[in-house]
Symmetry: C2
Subunit: 394 residues, 2 copies
């Protein structure tokens, strides 16, 4: 059968395929990128859903405006103000998860062969979304302070740019690396964007999940000239199954995104918008986040401790202040794709790091998720991995 | 600001803009395409939502498989079998409304300038979705038996085709015309598709809503060689706010659609998938459809009667056996765009017909929705319109 040319770049997410293997209950999986089901406020949602249906049944089950219901947009405007982000009602759009923001951004900006400047490694879902619009990637390396802005600067020099290129970054507790971009780098990135008339797509999926250290301002909060399109999700604070996120940007870009969304799915699920609205306005979100962070901090600490104890010398890993992931770099002689095969036999799983890199490198890296494994199993799983790595190092 | 080239074709749906004007409660609007809020099974949803959360909270709030939860896919397979459609579990994908099927189909098949064969008039949401992928439209006229298959045949002769072109049709109670394609034409369309190696996208949004006449088999049910990609929605039988639909097609196409959906929104809202699953399995959907059809039949009959009574000679309209719309053709001297301006002053609204035609013609046509207006107001609104038309005809 024949398909459009763009389909050639659209491959099934390697991770999703791997994860099918690792869903066996006997396997301790650090592979997925899922929140713990214990983080879901099931009873609260049950109560709110009942209230919404009793008081707003007709509206909550009807088509809604493409840009999202006004009540929820207003509640979000209030909430992001605490993060230093000022925005008006026509500068925000509610989306079918923040994943849809990635798709729509690429849809409205990218002509084939346009450039996307992207971190090494980066969020795989973004790469999958962008690929459909056939861009060229310019990978930018990272260190413990995030994207190497000097490298971005250098790489911008050497190329003939289109006006619709953009930089994609997950600056806080990045998926997959767990790294947070320093304040200095954020400022530099904004300066570069100003100088080069470049759009920044700031994917702020994880900032609600800080377990240690101090908040760093979002890039959007320092954005004076509308260089930043900002996206956030309710997947970590409410429910990923709700597929609820939003984008904030200047009026014109949000308008274009709204037009693109009309064709994509008409509007975001109205029912869950009403539920999220109540969840925000009641303040229950903050109470729940306290619980979630407490739960995840324990898991992060357990995993870091286990890594220290069971991983041999020569292995390095990030120590994230939040989010859901730890990034491990093994000695160069170890290939984590091969390690994966052995790991599955030992009933433990992870994702090999090269899956997250547009340059396909990073053969000796891996991503570990710590949020979706029972506390008791974290050390057991890391111990198994450590044993395998030691064997390979011999 | 600069955008991708494809954005030039992506205009805000004219209707959505018009509808904003017509939302004033004083206006009797036949303009929108919305189900009646009285058709929503609010109490049933409330009960099922509670049950789902109590018994499947952890799964219903988590990310789900991109192709949709297995339980719902199985329930749909059972249901469509009654419509004569046989399909396996890997031949179905749950989507964010059937609107997403339109977007994903265009995404996986259309290269810029590929052909889409489309009815005159056609569903505006489809045109909006396809436009983003920059196709060329080949319009096919309709009569009271649906698409003129002879015209399709003729037009196929004159062009150099790509292998990824497709025919888009809403064969049953079409939006906007209310017309149903006859069995004979359906068979002819399939034959043409066979002969020309052409894909048919069958948008079956309205077949649940039959008020008179006999069921006509879906094109998919007669499809022996996988020429048809079939889509249906829960917007008319459950809730449009849920954004829940599905596509059925051959394994390989559904697989490609799944890959495209990964990038678009990862998965369909899991919570409402669980609700829909229970709604189907319990049989409550059929009980509710009986109620909905009874309610809408009354409205259709009221509108047809009022048209007979208040519209002058020289006006024609379709007499649909189901669905949500009636299509009116006025004498050629009347321009319905101009009529709209006067109608708003008289506090009654509709959508001018040219909005639904890719050739921009049909200046003297209009679409009337009858499902979302109170019974008592239907005749009042039609009477007002009739009066205006008579004035224009003088």
């Amino acid at each position: 059968m024949k398909y459009a040319d763009r389909i050639k770049r659209m491959k099934a997410s390697e991770i999703r395929e791997l994860l099918k293997i690792t869903q066996h209950p006997e396997i301790i999986s650090f592979g997925g990128g899922m929140p713990s089901p214990h983080s879901f406020p099931v009873k609260i949602i049950d109560k709110i859903a009942d209230k919404v249906l009793r008081t707003h049944g007709a509206e909550a089950l009807q088509y809604g405006p493409t840009e999202g219901i006004k009540e929820l947009r207003e509640a979000i405007i209030k909430r992001v103000r605490k993060k230093g982000i000022k925005c008006e009602i026509d500068e925000i759009i509610i989306t079918t998860g923040s994943q849809q923001v990635l798709d729509l951004t690429a849809k409205i900006f990218l002509n084939p062969k346009d450039y996307v400047f992207i971190e090494l490694p980066s969020y795989l879902g973004a790469i999958v979304a962008f690929n459909a619009y056939q861009p060229q990637y310019i990978p930018i390396s990272m260190d413990n302070e995030g994207m190497l802005t000097e490298e971005l600067k250098e790489k911008l020099k050497g190329i003939k740019r289109s006006k619709t290129d953009f930089v994609y970054t997950v600056p806080t507790f990045q998926n997959p690396s767990g790294v947070t971009m320093s304040l200095e780098r954020r400022k530099q990135l904004l300066e570069i964007a100003e100088e080069h008339d470049l759009l920044i797509l700031e994917d702020d999926a994880y900032s609600d999940l800080r377990y240690s250290g101090k908040d760093i301002p979002t890039i959007k909060s320092m954005d004076k000239n509308n260089r930043v399109l900002y996206t956030h999700t309710f997947s970590k604070s409410l429910s990923p199954g709700f597929r609820l996120g939003y984008a904030i940007g200047d009026k014109e870009r949000i308008r274009k995104m709204t037009i693109a969304k009309q064709g994509a799915d008409l509007c975001t699920n109205t029912f869950v918008q009403y539920i999220a609205n109540e969840y925000l306005r009641s303040g229950l979100i903050d109470k729940q986040l306290v619980k979630i962070k407490k739960m995840y901090k324990i898991k992060r600490d357990l995993m870091l401790k286990a890594l220290e104890k069971h991983f041999p010398k020569g292995c390095e890993w990030t120590k994230p202040d939040g989010g859901m992931f730890i990034w491990v770099t093994l000695p160069p002689k170890i290939d984590t794709r091969e390690l994966f095969v052995d790991a599955i036999k030992e009933k433990v799983a992870f994702v090999h790091g090269s899956a997250f890199r547009v340059d396909g490198k990073g053969h000796n890296t891996m991503r570990l998720n710590f949020t979706n494994t029972d506390d008791k199993k974290i050390e057991i799983g890391i111990k198994r991995l450590g044993r395998l790595i030691k064997k390979k190092m011999k």
